[in-house]
């Protein structure tokens, strides 16, 4: 029973909370500050923040691995081979270490960072707010998911003491049955972290079905919620298959059951099928939530009802379902039959269609909108640019004949970094900037955020566009060294990765600065029309809303959500810009805290009254 949980903000102690102030000064962050109140919390907002901190650490470690990889590749070492390739000295590490580092980078980034990322951080924080609910349907299961994740992460760390994992994040058989014992740990880690993913998805599906506020029909759901719904479906339907694959790999290593190992009569291609049956849908687990964030940002910062709401909503679901039918495009040269390769190639083209629908609708939303170039919008634009490149090159490698040449080259590496980093991570950063004021009740510095977004953009493209060129020239992926003809491009790529790192540390810096020194955020700094902005304080009450919202309009009906008008970008009077290093473009709320009237907007909002 909820009543027995001490950390439950809704438990009897908090019963008479009407006595607490309802202006945001009493909120989910400060109603109880003890460590145990966090460790045992069932509040979706706090769980979201716990994931945020944990995932930031994982991203930092896996990112440092990446920097190490790029540094190794800054120069060729072919002159050192006299002692034999195995023992040759590299720029900073030998070949075996390189195998270990790229495997840890890939495995941690995919399984421990990208798969949970947006749903665990922003999904947890925002979804119940978007629904006008007090919490997710199963708050305790939500906390359990977090600890399953931690258990998985601990096993990954434990694997470091067993041996150097060197299979690549794909664990292809039969090598993964032969190499050192760290694989055993990783299979268990992924199996356990998988439960975290399954339970989060399950929780979200039920929450969306059963916990919507009065009046919140399916047609009024914010598109972020639709994206979460689609991604949850994939999590629930695909992750168990990864679970059993990892379990069978585990038994393969412990007992030698001979299901995947060809020496024992098993079939290594079966492993690839089962692995990609999860892992292709998994790339949609990574990108669909990003689509959701971008839809929110596009609507809010174009101040325009999202064009083609239904098309965007349903294309998420279409992608989720089609995504289950294309896994074979990872196996064009693995020895699957020609006819299945042709079919997989065809369906791969199809999946470009719903992705394209989304991009077109976002761009159309901006058309004639009143675009407000705040940092979240800058990241949204960046996303559209980078994801389009990533998606189109995806279609290119989906072409059977082309992929025979490009498979396992840097071209594929560039493709998936454009979608995963340029897509998911960029959208996550944009979403973090967008919801930052809601999460912490503080504003970040708009000027510095913009400056670092430039570093991120330049750094990212320098790092990864060169890799398209490298791949097209035939540079294979996962190689520790290369012949001199590739050196030039590798150097550019490495320098780009340093710029990117500066940008990302800068982004982190703007958040930390915002937390420590940021101006107090108004309830609705962006003039958005979804419930978390219109009906909840910044930061929200432990109960989310002090009263259950009743929804009478769509999520992007800015012209109906007149309660938000007053809050949009009220400039001037006593603008603290000079003092805190922000530019004057940052919205001002009741910075002085005395409830001083926010001045009404200087922005043209006439268009909002036109029904589209």
């Amino acid at each position: 029973m909820a009543q027995t949980l001490t950390a439950d903000p809704h438990a009897p102690t908090a019963h008479g909370h009407a006595a607490h102030p309802t202006d945001g000064s009493y909120n989910y962050l400060n109603y109880d500050k003890t460590f145990m109140s966090w460790a045992k919390t069932v509040d979706h907002k706090r769980i979201g923040l716990m994931y945020m901190v944990t995932l930031a650490l994982v991203f930092l470690v896996a990112g440092l691995f990446a920097i190490a990889l790029r540094t190794e590749l800054i120069a060729t070492n072919w002159t050192n081979y006299a002692a034999g390739e195995q023992d040759a000295a590299g720029t900073i590490m030998n070949a075996n270490t390189y195998n270990w580092v790229f495997t840890m980078h890939g495995a941690m980034m995919t399984f421990l960072f990208l798969v949970p990322s947006v749903p665990a951080i922003l999904g947890n924080f925002v979804l119940p707010l978007h629904l006008g609910a007090k919490d997710v349907a199963f708050p305790r299961l939500n906390l359990a998911s977090y600890y399953f994740y931690i258990a998985g992460a601990v096993l990954v760390i434990a694997s470091l003491f067993v041996g150097q994992l060197d299979t690549g994040w794909t664990f292809y058989m039969p090598y993964s049955a032969r190499t050192n014992g760290s694989v055993t740990f990783l299979t268990m880690a992924i199996f356990i972290a998988g439960f975290s993913s399954i339970f989060t998805g399950l929780n979200f599906i039920v929450t969306i079905h059963k916990m919507r506020a009065p009046g919140l029909t399916w047609n009024r759901l914010p598109l972020f919620v639709w994206a979460m719904y689609a991604v949850s479906l994939v999590q629930v339907l695909a992750t168990p298959v990864l679970g059993i694959t990892m379990l069978l790999l585990f038994t393969e290593r412990i007992f030698g059951v001979g299901i995947f190992d060809p020496a024992l009569g098993g079939d290594p291609i079966l492993f690839q099928h089962m692995f990609w049956f999860y892992s292709h849908p998994a790339v949609y687990i990574m990108i669909l939530p990003a689509f959701g964030i971008i839809s929110e940002l596009m609507g809010t910062f174009s101040r325009q009802r999202l064009y083609g709401y239904r098309a965007v909503a349903l294309s998420s679901v279409a992608i989720a379902l089609l995504g289950f039918l294309v896994w074979g495009h990872h196996m064009f040269v693995s020895g699957q039959s020609a006819i299945s390769s042709i079919i997989f190639s065809l369906i791969t083209y199809l999946i470009g269609i719903p992705s394209g629908i989304k991009v077109f609708n976002w761009v159309t939303t901006m058309y004639k909108g009143s675009i407000w170039l705040q940092t979240p919008m800058i990241y949204a634009l960046m996303f559209i640019f980078l994801f389009t490149i990533g998606g189109l090159t995806g279609v290119m490698v989906g072409v059977l004949a082309v992929d025979v040449a490009l498979h396992d080259t840097y071209y594929v590496v560039a493709h998936f970094h454009y979608v995963m980093m340029g897509g998911t991570v960029i959208a996550l950063i944009g979403g973090m900037y967008y919801w930052f004021p809601k999460m912490f009740g503080k504003m970040y510095s708009e000027r510095w955020a913009k400056i670092f977004s430039l570093f991120v953009f330049v750094g990212f493209n320098t790092t990864f566009f060169t890799q398209f060129l490298l791949g097209a020239k035939g540079m294979p992926r996962r190689y520790w060294d290369y012949i001199p003809m590739y050196e030039h491009l590798h150097q550019i790529s490495t320098i780009g990765s340093y710029i990117l790192a500066v940008g990302l540390f800068g982004v982190l810096g703007t958040w930390i600065w915002g937390l420590m020194k940021g101006r107090k955020a108004p309830q609705n700094p962006w003039g958005a029309a979804t419930l978390e902005w219109t009906h909840a304080t910044s930061p929200p009450d432990p109960h989310n809303f002090t009263a259950t919202p009743v929804v009478t309009r769509g999520p992007y009906d800015y012209y109906l959500a007149d309660e938000v008008f007053l809050t949009r970008n009220a400039p001037s009077s006593g603008d603290g810009a000079a003092g805190d290093g922000s530019d004057g473009d940052v919205p001002q709320g009741d910075g002085s805290g005395d409830g001083a009237a926010a001045t009404v907007v200087a922005r043209p909002i006439v268009r909002d009254f036109k029904p589209h």
Binding site: M1, A18, V206
Partner: protein, 261 residues
Amino acid sequence: MPPGHPNGVRADRNWPLRFDFTTPMASAPATLTVDSPEVHDAHAHDHPPHLQHHFVSSEQQFDAAKMGMWLFLATEILLFSGMFVAYAVFRTLYPATYEACATALNTMQGAFNTLVLLGSSLTVALAINAIQRDDQKGLQRYLLLTLLGAAIFLVVKYFEYTHKFHSGIFPGLAFHPYGEEFGHLATVPYARQFFSLYYVSTGIHAIHIIAGMVVLSWVYLKARKGTFSSSYYTHVELGGLYWHLVDVIWIFLFPLLYLIH
């Protein structure tokens, strides 16, 4: 939408929507809450002890729990589907091996266990039926019978496993069949793989039986304390659903492993 449904707009909840950022909430709540009793203290009204704070009504809580359980069952089926796919692949690749090995399994014991599980599915359904009629004694009796069925299943499974271990039929590399009954399997190519798959799939199924027993025992203990009634029996229903799933998976495993010729 039925009146009072959490997703329907209820007239009595139409508190004024207009939120003005310049008017701090603190100065306004009185006017906001007048006509909506649940607004400021959702706990004050109609609050049976089992109702968690974040749900509006018992029905909502029950519906959510049930839907969650169905989704969980879907993931369980997908987990086993991986093994069924492996089975399909290797049975197609090595048909002779699979038939030769299947005949070495004890069909009688398998069939007996199938009947036991079917019976326990019936008793768990009767348990739900009993509590719907507020029959506390019946609920406890049928839960105990279900647990008994599960225990019998495991005991039979134990004898099946140990009988094979005694003749060197282990999963994986330890597989070295000998003796009158199983010795001939040593010459069947890839027999090891069949038995590995047998042990892995029935083993994971047995783990599910044990998990089901833990769940049902917990439900039984709650039932003894009189937690459930015809208006609140979510855990009985969910435990029952889970038990049916464990049963259904066995219904697939049994013919695939024991009955092929």
